[in-house]
Symmetry: C2
Subunit: 120 residues, 2 copies
DNA sequence: CGCCTTGTCAACCATTCGGTTGAGAAATGC
DNA sequence: GCATTTCTCAACCGAATGGTTGACAAGGCG
């Protein structure tokens, strides 16, 4: 399993079923059984998915009798958002600089370094 | 391999090496060899990583003689950002509603539905 | 031309992943 | 106490991952 937190979060959300569980947990907490109900897999499989989400810090489980209510920990989203935004901004910054360079270029549309003497 | 685009993007960024490549590509395009240089793996491994990034739409490769310059396609970030923001907002919305409920509750700290007749 | 550089393809290997089934722990309720 | 509900643990399985090495295609360059 990936050691660093960011990898764990990205990996956790790389699965459609897990993403759907997270989506549903934004509405309300749910037990393992409730979460499992819509999917065509065993409860055990869902339990495994929850472990992945929990290891990523996206979810926490408490207890209520036999039930294990699952709660979304939405703050972890920030980890990803920060990473994405940082590099998105950096990429945009780069394009901006590239634009400046292009803008500073002569109107003359000579394809490459026009060296010595007019062509024709 | 995951079919849906969102899964592919998340999965692609779930690897530290690939994230680092993306980070470096926000600064400038690079060839496969240049990209491979800092890592302690074969060029083939890096080539595979690039394929994953390319399949996720995060990167495109063109050609320049033997070289294959790699270019970042930062727009795909939006896919993730949209998903994350949507559910982050939904989660916040939920907490806000929960707060309203709590605020509307009586100061009386009776634990559950106090039914008929004062206790003592 | 022959060689060197750059990169991909193919085969292989160990590990991880998502799923299964079976067993059992923990708590409730008759 | 005993059956039932809810969930996890363990073992197993097939497919995908991330890595390797070896072969080779494509394109300058001496």
């Amino acid at each position: 399993m990936a050691a660093d937190p960011l990898s764990r979060v990205f990996a956790a959300l790389a699965d459609p079923t897990r993403r759907d569980m997270v989506a549903r947990l934004t509405v309300a907490d749910a037990t393992v059984g409730e979460l499992a109900e819509p999917y065509d897999v065993s409860v055990q499989a869902v339990s495994k998915h929850l472990r992945v989400l929990e290891d990523a810090g996206l979810v926490s489980r408490s207890r209520d009798a036999q039930r294990r209510p699952v709660h979304l920990e939405a703050e972890v989203f920030d980890l990803m958002t920060k990473w994405i935004e940082r590099y998105r901004r950096q990429a945009e910054e780069r394009y901006r600089r590239l634009d400046d360079v292009l803008r500073a270029m002569p109107d003359d549309p000579s394809p490459t370094t026009p060296r010595e003497g007019t062509p024709s």
